[in-house]
Symmetry: C2
Subunit: 153 residues, 2 copies
DNA sequence: GGTGAATAGTTTAACAGTTTAACTATTATT
DNA sequence: AATAATAGTTAAACTGTTAAACTATTCACC
């Protein structure tokens, strides 16, 4: 690729990804039920999808320290949205699950978020949005590998 | 579009955008100079690019309240990275500019971030990444319009 | 020209999220 | 049995955020 072209692509990428992130986050925030923060929403969503979720798994997925997760989980558990159960075989680990209240809450919120995403995805034609998401997924893979290299696995 | 296809695209989009955001943010964080946070980095970068930057403009761009901007600007001004100057014609407004120290810092950081973005952008062929960014920019436009509609402009 | 509304920015209090370091409890290694 | 490693928590310090009240200035318009 031409150096100039690359420079331009970089600038465009940096600026558009910033813009989309900010705007998308603001829109999601507007759809979230009750007094859930964005992070709480994502945490609950992750637990919902995950089989046997632990703090360590969350910390890795969200790229933060475990103590940051503890703080968030504490708040959600205090509100009765999340439950903790110890593993009987390895009593160090604590599994996180959603209470009924938590399940209901995330379901309602996910529906709204889905409608939101649908409303902009359907403004593209199928080929374009499919290509876009395909490349996006490739990018996710590349970033994962870059991180692994950095850590030196 | 088929309903099932749309559902699948939504799920893929939601999950891949979350993943890319987290990973990209972690990588950027690893490239940032000294003790700058991600938000501070973005704020300084925005001021650098902007002509006559004000707190209100930043608040709008970052989709937060003005008082959140005040807090960040205070910290950066305390560290001598940003300077405030009042508009002589309208003494309510305060222009934000980078000090020499601030300019040097952001330049060094931007270089690193550019190299980082370059390292993954160049793993795609030109057509694919160009299409990707084009669609991304369309998405930014759509989100901007959605917000305008919501606000009711 | 003076009064009330609008605008730009700040302050304060309260809270969420984050890191680092030290800690508890448990399990693995040797 | 002793030591190291792992899962998670706690505490202190900090950043970012909102909401509400505030200051200072400018605008609108009668």
């Amino acid at each position: 690729m031409d150096k100039k072209v690359i420079q331009e692509l970089i600038d465009r990428y940096v600026s558009v990804s910033f813009e989309v992130n900010k705007k998308a986050e603001a829109l999601i925030k507007s759809q979230i039920e009750e007094d859930l923060t964005i992070d709480q929403h994502y945490i609950i969503g992750y637990i919902q999808k995950s089989e046997e979720c632990t703090s360590s798994e969350l910390a890795e997925a969200f790229e933060v320290n475990k103590s940051a997760i503890t703080a968030i989980i504490n708040r959600l558990a205090d509100r009765g949205l999340i439950e903790r159960t110890r593993d009987e075989n390895d009593r160090r680990v604590v599994y996180l699950t959603l209470s009924e209240k938590g399940k209901e809450l995330i379901q309602k919120t996910q529906e709204k978020v889905h409608l939101l995403v649908e409303s902009f995805i359907t403004q593209f034609d199928e080929a374009e949005i499919t290509n876009f998401i395909n490349t996006f997924e490739k990018l996710a893979l590349i970033l994962t590998n870059m991180k692994k290299e950095e850590v030196g696995e």
